[in-house]
Amino acid sequence: METICVTWILQDGSRKTAAVETGGNLMEAALDNAIDGIVGQCGGSLACATCHVVIEEAPAALPDISPDEDDMLDMAEPERLPGSRLSCQLLAVPELDGIVLRVP
């Protein structure tokens, strides 16, 4: 099973890095690694905005923000920032090995 390295910067400033299996999304990866502040209420159906992250470092271009994600991001808590994404919409793919996400 292929894995990639994902790092979350938590709300208290500390970092947590984990090996994440490719194929799933980064909201699920956060839940698997008990990342505080990522709830993922709607299970990735783009209905809750509780998987909000800010991209700190991306090793490759991320997929574009779809209109639905864009709309939902406007409801994110805390408020949307440049670089904000809903992590259920980001797949763990090999190109993203080394990605760094901040939990806002």
């Binding site: 709830v39 209420q41 990735g44 159906s45 209905a47 809750c48 709309d71 939902m72 406007d74 409801m75």
Partner: protein
């Protein structure tokens, strides 16, 4: 039947107040088979949260289920890619953006109308006269069935809910349910030509614009009506009661120390309007030492998970300042409530602030009985306010 430990309930007591039994189940048998309900109950928040996502095991697809027979195959009763595509098709009618730019103004107008009409009377039933109407008007707008009265909206919603819970097969209940779905179909027939001419953001119109098969369009409108009337109604009235009986919490909102949105989220956690969502076991599965067999009925007990002492401190206490982000009042998976944003707007931004603003001196004027465990809310709620001082 699953191998879960058996927990017996008295159906009547459980209906009146399920919380003491649910508390015992969480402590003694968090996954329990309840013979009176013919189902295995998941009562802990994290068990529900984890397992609801396993749709290949806990399926909401119930081809023989009452809901499908009575209402058609809607997206709640499907798993996998098909409902995702349908959810995408209805999204434009319930998205946060549409709620803000289209529905909010209509919610305000209709709520103001209702309150202005009642205001001079100085007395009303908060459930029947206010919450039902505000909720029904909102659902008319969102679904696109503006040719229906709010009273009819409430009737057809209740008729379908009763029909879906009619496990005993009472022919009268079934006939009433058919009458209600028939009424919805006639109202859809009436609106379709108009919306073809002048498309709008309603759920009926956006599904037509997306080219969904008519059968699916109709089934999804029925699902939305069965799932979109009671909950806002029960929360509007229930939250008014809660604030009147917890004046210190009301003061927090009035003094700007907390928001109506916090009050809404905490109420939906504390007395979840949808306490349960049913699932069917699709394949043999083991969790926490319990074996589930195919065709077992499983109830996800959202109302219990929301009082799980492992997740919420002092869960029986209504406290609008608490962190409610782990609440599962809107579900916890791929069937997450499509109306969540509309409800937040309707209740926290429109109904509650308007009720407390436009009915000065609002007070309870009698007993307020609550009932239900699958759906829970106040049954009636006599209130008075100061009509004399109003210009």
């Amino acid at each position: 039947m699953s191998t879960a430990p058996v927990y017996e309930i008295d159906p009547k007591t459980f209906w009146q107040d399920p919380y003491p039994d649910l508390k015992r189940m969480r402590a003694e048998a968090p996954i329990a088979y309840v013979p009176q309900l013919g189902a295995t109950l998941l009562t802990r928040r994290d068990d529900i949260f984890e397992n609801e996502k396993k749709v290949e095991i806990f399926s909401s697809d119930q081809p023989q289920g009452l809901m499908t027979v009575l209402m058609g195959q809607n997206l709640m009763r499907k798993d996998g890619a098909a409902p995702m595509a349908e959810r995408k098709a209805i999204f434009p009618s319930v998205s946060p953006k549409t709620v803000k730019s289209v529905w909010k103004a209509q919610f305000e107008e209709k709520t103001a109308e209702a309150l202005e009409e009642l205001r001079p009377l100085g007395t009303a039933d908060m459930v029947k006269d206010v919450a039902k109407r505000v909720s029904g008007e909102a659902l008319k707008a969102i679904t696109g069935l503006t040719n229906m009265s709010w009273q009819e909206m409430d009737r057809v919603s209740q008729g379908m809910i009763d029909g879906c819970a009619n496990y005993a097969g009472d022919p009268e209940v079934e006939a009433r349910c058919h009458d209600c779905t028939g009424s919805i179909d006639r109202h859809i027939d009436g609106m379709m030509p108009l919306l073809r001419e002048a498309p709008d953001s309603s759920m009926l119109s956006v599904q037509m614009q997306a080219g969904l098969p008519e059968e699916a369009v109709r089934a999804n409108i029925k699902l939305t009506i069965s799932g979109g009337q009671n909950e806002p109604r029960d929360v509007i009235a229930g939250l008014v009661w809660t604030m009147l009986t917890h004046p210190e919490q009301l003061a927090l909102v009035r003094d700007g120390k907390a928001t109506w949105l916090q009050a809404f989220e905490e109420y939906a956690r504390w007395i979840s309007p949808i306490g349960m969502s049913p699932r069917r076991v699709a394949q043999r599965y083991e969790a926490k030492g319990v074996t589930f067999e195919p065709e077992d009925r499983v109830f996800l007990m959202f109302g219990s998970g929301n009082r799980d002492e492992a997740v919420f401190e002092d869960p029986e206490r209504f406290d609008i300042a608490r962190d409610t982000s782990h609440s599962i009042a809107f579900g916890a998976g791929p069937h997450f409530c499509a109306g969540a944003w509309a409800s937040r707007c309707l209740i926290a931004e429109v109904a509650l602030p308007m009720i407390f603003e436009r009915l000065p001196g609002l007070a309870l004027a009698g007993e307020v009985p609550f009932g239900g465990w699958a759906f829970r809310g106040p049954l009636e709620m006599p209130v008075t306010w100061d009509a004399a001082g109003i210009s």
